[in-house]
């Protein structure tokens, strides 16, 4: 008996194979999209401490209270500094746009000057945040499509199965020539990220040291960024985190920034 393969069956088989292959080896962009879209609540309210440790081991501490709200793929956030004392009350308001061609809107309030000023939304991303090893871009929501992502391999890291993805900026205007991230397969948290400078030398290494499930959402509660070139590290600890507390966009205003609290 002559066996025939119907065109529809062939198509279905190709699609199925394609699906299997896709599942077996997702593209770098697919992995990073999933990491970007993993549940993180529609709103976030947190208190975060940054410990800056230099090569001699001396420490400086910054504490911030922050609020964030997602509006589709865009987000709004406001951050008030509680420590150190000389910047207490300083606030940042950011309207973060997913569209990579659109600069974010950022305002800075300096309580000593009693003045709010608009600051650059593009170059500020490359600045280090409050003397830490994190740039504003490291801390913000970098658009997935601002980089080209390549899946490299799968690897077990700290006992977790991870995808290893290399991300290269599409525009050659950042601090990094590329980053390599270890994305956990079970929850799409970046367990480790290596940052390479424009000379392609290892610059920084981010490591998640503590992960907790808060309100059903996996949250990195202790993260260390080690700057290998400066022999300096910054440890971020999340002191408290609340997801999906009621907030709306009208609260993220210059008025709230100047008051120092969310109305």
């Amino acid at each position: 008996m002559k066996r025939t393969i119907k065109p529809l069956t062939l198509l279905a088989t190709i699609l199925l194979m394609g699906g299997i292959l896709a599942n077996a080896q997702p593209t770098g962009r697919e992995i990073m999209l999933k990491a970007d879209e993993k549940p993180d609540g529609d709103t976030r309210k947190s208190v975060m401490t940054m410990e800056l440790v230099n090569k001699r081991g001396s420490k400086r501490v910054r504490t911030m209270q922050s609020y964030a709200l997602d509006e589709g793929r865009d987000s709004k956030s406001i951050m008030f500094f509680q420590k150190p004392a000389d910047v207490k009350g300083t606030g940042f308001l950011t309207w973060d746009y997913n569209d990579e061609n659109r600069d974010d809107d950022r305002w800075l309030y300096l309580p000593a000057m009693k003045k709010t000023r608009r600051i650059s939304g593009s170059s500020a991303k490359k600045e280090y945040f409050m003397g830490s090893d994190f740039t504003y871009d490291d801390m913000g929501n970098r658009s997935v499509d601002a980089d080209k992502h390549v899946f490299l391999r799968e690897e077990i890291l700290d006992g977790h199965a991870c995808y290893v993805v290399e991300s290269t900026p599409k525009e050659d205007d950042g601090l990094y020539s590329r980053t390599v991230g270890w994305i956990r397969k079970d929850n799409y948290i970046a367990q480790k990220v290596m940052f390479y400078d424009r000379m392609d030398k290892l610059m920084k290494e981010l490591q998640v040291e503590e992960l907790k499930e808060i309100d059903g959402i996996w949250t990195a509660t202790r993260v260390t960024m080690m700057n290998h070139q400066r022999n300096h590290r910054t440890v971020i600890s999340i002191e408290s985190m609340e997801y999906d507390t009621p907030m709306d966009g009208s609260q993220f205003t210059v008025n709230a920034l100047e008051k120092g609290y969310l109305n």
């Binding site: 608009r118 600051i119 650059s120 500020a124 600045e127 205003t253 210059v254 008051k259």
Partner: protein, 410 residues
């Protein structure tokens, strides 16, 4: 007695702040000490002062209050040794509206270190411009009512009682001798508006915070808080009296701040109605000359990254229908330049700020270095350089100084 009472009040509120665990009072402030020496001989001290600032605030639901207390010992200008309330206001924020009442600092506009529409809080010129700009602004008793959303804010304001600039008095090394050392020239007491309802200052601001641009429309019925000077002859024929006077004026203003990649473009303008000016010698014997003026400023801030900041501003006070009876030139051109760089993980900040009086070729340049010794203590030093043969800055060219400052924040 007054000092003791205020100190007791401060200590008591500090105790309350620690004692209340739920929704406590929040206390912050600083202690600083500042000393400046003239660069030229005799290298005498131009400033030597130490200060305590205590700030107390509390949020209770939608209600908030803030009090700021200042205690200063000023060795060079003893009359500035004082213990006073700086700010004391309350605030209520409802659903999209709020009010704020009490002694407060009010800032309008987008200019840095220049007064185009930012004229509500008077200036403390007791050390001219040779102090931090946040110390130069003086609070006023005011009430504001605001209506706001995420993209606009309407603020209506009234300042019931007039308050003038604080000018350096006799014995202060920053005082200007308007008599030129001549015995027959006398400075009369300032003529200030009476404390009546009709002399109230009032106005409003409508600000828009949009994607990529901020806009601000302002209008104010106010007073010239820096006096203008009228000359009159005295009872004795040879005597000449200089009379500092404050008069009504008003303006409508427009300002913007626009981001363009790594740049922020800023602009501010105001049309002033019926502004009085100091008389020139040709105008003596007549009343104070009055004219309208257009004040405008254009500025650009550049954030090239790596913790550099570069900024420049250009401003013009253009007196319309200018006559020779007015002492000021038709165009008073001033530009500013600022440059700063942070180093050593933001712990060291090097900064320069300069004012240039373009008409006169005079300038004031402040170079400073600030180092964060710890999370609490900053130490800083700098040089203030005044230069010029005419114009305001030329009067202070002998006051070029080197200074040191230490500040503990808590």
């Amino acid at each position: 007695m007054k000092t003791t009472l205020l100190l007791s009040a401060l200590l008591f509120t500090g105790y309350l702040a620690m004692a209340q665990s739920d929704n406590p009072l929040r206390v912050k402030g600083f202690v600083d000490t500042y000393h400046a020496v003239r660069l030229n001989e005799p290298n005498d001290f131009l400033a030597s002062r130490s200060r305590f600032r205590g700030e107390i605030e509390k949020i209770s639901g939608n209600s908030y209050f803030f009090v700021s207390l200042n205690a200063m010992h000023n060795r060079m200008v003893p009359e500035l040794t004082d213990f006073t309330f700086r700010e004391a206001f309350m605030e209520y924020t409802g659903e999209g509206w709020g009010f704020k009442a009490g002694r407060q600092i009010i800032i309008w506009g987008q200019a840095d270190g220049m007064k185009i529409t930012d004229v509500i809080s008077p200036m403390d010129l007791s050390e001219f411009l040779a102090q931090d700009y946040d110390d130069i602004r003086m609070p006023v008793n005011a009430m504001t009512i605001s209506r706001f959303t995420d993209f606009y804010e309407l603020e209506l304001l009234c300042v019931p009682l007039f308050e003038s600039y604080r000018l350096p008095g006799e014995g202060n090394p920053w005082a200007l001798d308007l008599t030129g050392g001549m015995d027959n020239i006398h400075i009369d007491p300032a003529v200030e508006p009476e404390a009546t309802l009709k002399n109230m200052e009032y106005g409003g601001k409508l600000a828009f915070y949009l994607s990529g641009i901020d806009l601000e429309l302002t209008a104010l019925h106010t007073w010239n808080k820096m006096p203008v000077y009228r000359y009159r002859t005295g009872d004795v024929e040879e005597d000449l009296h200089i009379v500092p006077e404050h008069h009504r004026m008003g303006f409508v203003g427009l300002s913007f701040s626009k981001s363009l990649s790594a740049f922020i473009l800023r602009g501010e303008s105001a049309f002033y109605f019926g502004r009085k000016y100091t008389q020139s010698t040709e105008g003596m014997g007549n009343g104070l000359p009055e004219s309208n003026s257009i004040n405008y400023l254009l500025g650009i801030d550049w954030y090239p990254g790596n913790e550099w900041m570069v900024s420049g501003q250009f401003s013009d006070e253009w007196i319309l229908d200018h006559t020779n009876a007015i002492l000021n030139p038709e165009h008073s051109l001033i530009s500013t330049f600022a440059l700063s760089k942070k180093l050593f993980r933001s712990n060291l900040k090097l900064a320069s700020f300069a004012y240039f009086q373009l008409n006169e070729g005079a300038f004031f340049l402040r170079n400073s270095a600030d180092y964060a010794l710890s999370d609490n203590i900053h130490v800083s030093t700098g040089v203030d350089w005044f230069h010029g043969d005419s114009g305001t800055f030329s009067h202070y060219k002998d006051n070029s100084q080197v200074w040191v400052k230490a500040k503990y924040s808590f």
